[in-house]
Amino acid sequence: MNNIRTNRLKDQAFKFWGIACTFLGLILLTIFIGSILIDGLQRIDWDFITSLPSRKAERAGIYTALMGSVWILVFTTIIALPLGIAAAIYLEEYAKESRLSSLLEINISNLAGVPSIIYGLLGLEVFVRIMEMGASVLAGSFTLALLILPIVIVATRESLKAVPKSIRDASFALGASKWQTVSQQLLPASFGGILTGVILALSRAVGETAPLIVIGALAYVPFAPESPMDEFSVLPIQIFNWISRPKHGFEVNAAAAIIVLLLITFILNGIAVYFRNRWQSKLK
């Protein structure tokens, strides 16, 4: 008797605790976004997005940084996607259980936890110096691609793992080769999951600052990049730069740029959710 009562009490207590935690998180987020909106929203207009950087806060825009972010995003995707998915397919479908493959596995999981600035140092040495790419879009993209590679690999492997074994059995039993099974059954069936993972990884890449600063991305670039070998800046660096200036006008600019950055992240996440849902309903 007593037992049931204490259990119910514990149940209730936990429920309230859970609700409280959720609300705390939501409230903090609302305050954060609210204050940024209040500061920055007035500053956002077409001019702000299409103007080049300037020493005058009222005339400065985010055009070069925004374009830099877009270039970085595109090239990071081009580099990380095929590498990550291919590696995941190899590890999940082809590699035999061995010391080497489990060593690889452990290391990939560990890589996901390495601080991003370390990737910056690696990028600086390998891409900027040894491969002589300079502080270019390409060097930045390679660096960020390395950074998100473990995330892409893990996400892809999880999605492949989630495809039931019975699908593989069915495909093999009909005389399909391994590659046919991977390309025509497993990848389509896990597409939603892979895409979600990739997009989440990319939205992390958009927000990265430290590794790009380390490889030498600039806070002030007069023009948007026109080729992968050009110098670049990205939104987070622009924001960082503006915030560190004393004049109030730049703080407003920073808030406005944060709104744009958040918007990009939300859109990316939105796309991920959209594709996941579409894929799930297609499977039914």
Binding site: D169, L174, Q184
Partner: protein, 264 residues
């Protein structure tokens, strides 16, 4: 004389579509099949029965080499199809599986349309001719008696079908690649009695054109549809005979105990 012997050999081979010669299977150190010799006849239905874990699935999956990917799997002995050892190095496993189809315990349609499910086995062979594919899909679905039920929904997801329909779709998908042998591992154990009856009927019709091996836990089923029955126990083939004989008058005590439900 020599010629005669060759002809005799050939007809024997033809009668014995599948042969196992002193086959042993290991999963790591565990011996799952302990030296089985067996000849399976062409255009007959052969049922494998025996208690859970006795090695029926393991043995069945030797004939289309589906155990190859299993970790720790190792085989000794020979498996012959039409007299050819299918575990020889130069054998093309994909080609082999086109000849030896398989139907699984749980219906496992691809998460694609009904059409794509049936056409898949042909498409992976590089067949692109739309008209041919369409005809073949229709023909295969008719063979399993599914055509009239699904002809309007051919482009809809196969996952929307009932369990019994899904299993018939899986059989149609197997037939589309024109195998000569069909392996079935408890194909009706996940189905309701009506679907089961339909599939039994279907299997019975198929034996005209195909050699069928079916694993089942259902004695009535084995008795109803199979020509021959093999009783396995602990990785050994205990008794193998015409089904009529095996179910009415088994030679071995173990067989009798099993079919009368005294164990397993």
């Amino acid at each position: 004389m020599k010629e005669n012997k060759d002809i005799l050999d050939k007809t024997l081979k033809r009668k014995h579509k599948l042969q196992a010669k002193d086959v042993k299977v290991f999963y790591d150190d565990f011996m799952a099949i302990k030296g089985i010799d067996m000849n399976i006849r062409a255009n007959k239905i052969t049922a494998f029965i025996g208690p859970s874990g006795c090695g029926k699935s393991t043995f069945l999956r030797l004939f289309n080499r589906m155990n190859d990917y299993v970790d720790g799997f190792r085989m000794e002995g020979e498996i012959l199809i039409d007299g050819e050892n299918i575990y020889k190095k130069k054998v093309n496993v994909e080609q082999l599986r086109k000849q030896v189809g398989m139907v699984f315990q749980k219906p496992n349609p691809f998460p694609k349309s009904i059409y794509e499910n049936v056409a898949y086995g042909l498409k992976i062979q590089g067949i692109k001719d739309k008209a041919f594919l369409k005809d073949k899909v229709e023909e295969s679905l008719k063979q399993v008696g599914l055509w009239n039920e699904v002809k309007e929904d051919i482009n809809k997801s196969a996952l929307a079908l009932s369990g019994g329909q899904q299993q018939r779709l899986c059989i149609a998908r197997t037939l589309a690649v024109e195998p000569s042998i069909i392996l079935m591992d408890e194909p009706t154990s996940a189905l309701d009695p009506i679907s089961t009856a339909k599939i039994e009927e279907l299997i019975y019709q198929l034996k005209e054109k195909y050699t069928i091996v079916i694993v089942t836990h259902n004695m009535q089923q084995a008795g109803r549809i199979s020509d021959y029955t093999a009783f396995f126990y602990m990785g050994e083939l205990i008794e193998y005979d015409k089904s009529k004989k095996l179910f009415t008058n088994p030679e071995k005590q173990q067989t009798e105990n099993y079919i009368t439900g005294r164990f397993g």
